[in-house]
Symmetry: C2
Subunit: 194 residues, 2 copies
Amino acid sequence: MTYDDFMDQPKRRDKAATRAKLLDAARLRFARHGFDGTGVRDIAADVGVDPALVFRYFGSKEQLHEEALRVEIPTGLTDDPARPLTHITDTLLHDVVFADWEQFAGEHPLLVMLRSAGRPTIRDQMRQQLCEGYLPDFAERLGGDNPALRAELVGALLIGMGVMRTILNTPALHNASYEETRTLVTRLITALSD
Amino acid sequence: MTYDDFMDQPKRRDKAATRAKLLDAARLRFARHGFDGTGVRDIAADVGVDPALVFRYFGSKEQLHEEALRVEIPTGLTDDPARPLTHITDTLLHDVVFADWEQFAGEHPLLVMLRSAGRPTIRDQMRQQLCEGYLPDFAERLGGDNPALRAELVGALLIGMGVMRTILNTPALHNASYEETRTLVTRLITALSD
DNA sequence: CATTCTTGTCATCGGTCGATGACTTAGGGG
DNA sequence: CCCCTAAGTCATCGACCGATGACAAGAATG
């Protein structure tokens, strides 16, 4: 037992800290088992605290879920209008499909939400993040007729890859390196942006 | 009230018929609200029958779900080895993404399963149908190095389009015609199969 | 009409769920 | 040292869940 563990032993009371711990535990549980598969008692038990605190701090299980899965749209990705689309999709491929989001059990928050897509509120939240956060930047750089549709195809490819790699665990995508996948995806994107 | 309705009135007892009705109702409920969001009481109420019959006929809610969402892999799609991949993806684009599966609330069974992807058994069932039913035929026709990975990219595109169109309801894919989507998808597939 | 098998119903069990409100205890300021 | 506020606990509620087994009623058979 380390010194810090020993200092934590006498259960210091700290609202902000326990709130944060609850959020962390909720992220993991929701990510692994979805909304319906997770109980407030489970989350509270992970933190070692009474389930009633969940409702005191977050109001309801739904609000806890919303706050736990809220994710800031990464800025700085698209602020340079001259940055080519393939660079952006490279980054997204890395962050959405290949990155290890340890706070979300290894998956990107968007994919985590998909696991709870039975709830209409979660579906709406997810569509909003997609349509307002990512797709406009795709469309802006794609050109051609119906750039919105082409942008959604790009989004569909990334979402689908994420689903297959981290939810369904299909073998090829699971074993493929980021590099060899990137070259194929780049080829697809350029084919879409004539 | 028609003559047939009148004949149905005295609740004729017919095991096969009520079993089938339960399966239909289960399909709709599971498709709309997912596994956890559906109760056996709901399904039985749709049919106008006692919930206990679900367990008598199917054993458990899980087995009912499995049987309700079981879907035969369409044969005749890939039995001609000379049939080009783009023809196959055209068909799949039509059947998986654009077709209206009225028995499944308008969605393809694979997408319906995704809504209940919190359950490990359902995930496994879905991966198996994908990896054994569709992807090998893709890989066989794609060529290049790592055809399995390319095949999974094709699958990812279709799955992602289905998710965005019928689960998230993104506007462009929802409003796009099958034809204009098909030309874009064809371009993507050919770019992948050099 | 009586018997018998099948189809459907009823009551209920044990458990889990989200949520509430009253209670206890820790800890810092007077 | 006491006291008051805030952090955490406890008991419990009402609803719903999947599942079981005993029972009633319809249909087939003689």
